[in-house]
């Protein structure tokens, strides 16, 4: 009697083992059947990623420095941020982390690009339909909270070790903010302005591109910023499944207790994060320069 109350009546160990095995077998079967075609499907992505990585590595370092400085200036219009960015890259180069940094830069850029290309349309979809929002929100919740190691298992089973599974892992983790903030940004657009657009006979398309998206842009941009930050934070985990970059030395440092190596590469990731963050944030601020000037 007491036993019933103290021990939770679980499914028997054997039944459970059978169930788990069945799931594993089923997935293995799926992976054997479709693994290759999935790999083919992602092949263009791999080629793109490799191409960017090679491009970054083949470009002479002074050119990269100029491009980094130029982009930082275009984004922030601030000498402080621009000098900081260039200086950080110089230090990274001096401490011999240039190649790893370029590899990381490549995967972060591709991941961010993909997040934007996939995330913004999904966010728009969510903003236009309550049903879509109800459907997608829990999916985003799961993507953000599930430990990354858990979804690494099926990804690796399907696609093996390499850049693409790493990229997918980064995507799963980093895409929710841009989706959420696109949705939020569109929903926050002043209903009176939308009513005015309606009153002048704007079509749904004209409303989306002429009113909703432009007014949601600062929020969307905050989402992109978050996405970049989260992608960077995945660098070490992605390196566990074969993505090159700053994560690899960190991983080596963990297993060998190399304090200095870990710290240096870790700080390089931090430097990248700060540069991305400052540049994109001040760009985001400039996007809404029309707000809050002069009278209200």
């Amino acid at each position: 009697m007491w036993e019933f109350l103290t021990e939770f009546p679980a499914i028997g160990r054997r039944d459970l083992a059978v169930m788990k095995k069945a799931i594993d077998e089923a997935f293995k079967g799926f992976s054997r059947t479709y693994g290759e075609s999935l790999e083919n499907f992602f092949n263009p992505l791999l080629k793109f990623l490799v191409w960017i990585e090679k491009l970054l590595l083949a470009t002479p370092w002074p050119v990269i420095l100029v491009v980094v400085g130029g982009l930082a200036w275009l984004g922030s219009r601030s000498w402080k941020i621009t000098t900081g960015a260039v200086l950080a890259f110089v230090v990274i180069g001096v401490f011999d982390m240039w190649e790893d940094t370029m590899a990381t830069l490549a995967i972060i850029s591709v991941a961010t690009l993909l997040c934007i290309v996939i995330g913004i349309p999904v966010g728009i979809l969510m903003a236009r339909s309550e049903r879509m929002q109800q459907l997608i929100t829990p999916v985003l919740d799961v993507m953000q909270t599930i430990p990354s190691f858990v979804y690494l298992i099926p990804v690796v089973m399907l696609l093996g070790i390499g850049k693409v599974p790493g990229l997918i892992a980064v995507l799963i983790y980093a895409i929710p903010p841009v989706v959420r903030l696109t949705n939020l940004g569109i929903r926050l657009v002043d209903s009176e302005v939308l009513e005015a657009a309606d009153a002048f006979g704007a079509s749904p398309r004209q409303k989306l591109f002429g009113v909703q998206l432009p007014l949601a842009l600062p929020n969307i941009f905050a989402g992109v910023n978050q996405t970049i930050m989260m992608a960077l934070s995945m660098v070490v985990i992605a390196s566990m499944i074969g993505v090159k970059g700053l994560g690899v030395p960190v991983l080596r440092a963990i297993s060998n207790q190399y304090l200095a190596l870990g710290l240096m590469n870790g700080l390089a990731i931090v430097a990248l994060a700060i540069i991305f963050d400052r540049v994109s944030q001040s760009y985001g601020k400039r996007l809404q320069a029309y707000r809050g000037q002069g009278n209200d």
Partner: protein, 343 residues
Amino acid sequence: MTEPKIRIRNLYKIFGDHPDRVLPLVRDEAMGKDELLEKHNHVLGVNNVSLDIFPKQVQVVMGLSGSGKSTLIRHINRLIDPTGGELTVDGEDVLAMDETQLRALRRHKMSMVFQKFALLPHRTIAENVGYGLEVQGMADAEIASHTQHWIDRVGLSGYESHYPGQLSGGMQQRVGLARGLATDADILLMDEAFSALDPLIRYDMQSILLELQNELHKTIVFITHDLDEALRLGDDIAILRDGGMVQQGDAQQIVLKPADDYIRDFIKDINRAKVIRLRALAEPLPQGAAPPEGLPTLPAATVLDDAMLAMSGAPGQTVLVERQDGTLAGTATLTQAIEALHG
């Protein structure tokens, strides 16, 4: 008699979960707003309103907040769908229109000016004024010339590349007005367009509107809660309370023959001398009688404020009242004028 431009017949709007279910209660059993809310948890927005709005007129719809006037105006371009009733514009049934027809109606036939301006904050003044034209699909160069014309007309030259956030309220509403006029629509819907402005600027904007109307002759539906504004702008005034029409008429009729205490309350503080015109006092001469000699003649549209000095100086304190077409409407005396002022 000219055909009405906009024709509203027995319009009802009920807000709630099952408006169709409670409509018969309101329509057939005359259930009021309070009872409907209490017993059925539905809000009566518009209650059996019928209104003919004639071309080239300024139709004012007046009422306190919650009287349903903003709801009513949104039926005309169907930003709100009615629960029951009929609505035609130029003889076309607006309620039967599909999305495409409705968009065409909103793009070409009517435009709207909003209480809180509702400008697009990310677009410059010029881009805001041109918004309606852009939605119509007009070419950029053409938009630019149209836009510039209306920006000049509302006195905003030099502000073309500013953003709405940089302008004061009064200037923002000029942008709103220019945006409404730029599409060349016949009908202009103005929802408390000047209510958010302070009194002096509001008066200025009314003057601009009257001046433009003198020249453009649009059909304007003007919503307001301000009687002075209603009397100044309206060729015809409809007064709403609790979603229903209480009285409709021109300024004279409202002031001289208020339908009930609600309207009497409304008009008690206004300066009657600036509203009542000689036309309302004129007593026709006996059939065939010649007009008395030596009396001054005043136009029928003269307000008492302007007429009384002439009246007190005239022989017998009597003046002749002449209609716009030159015919004689009759005589009016100072005593009549004073009586009219005291209601």
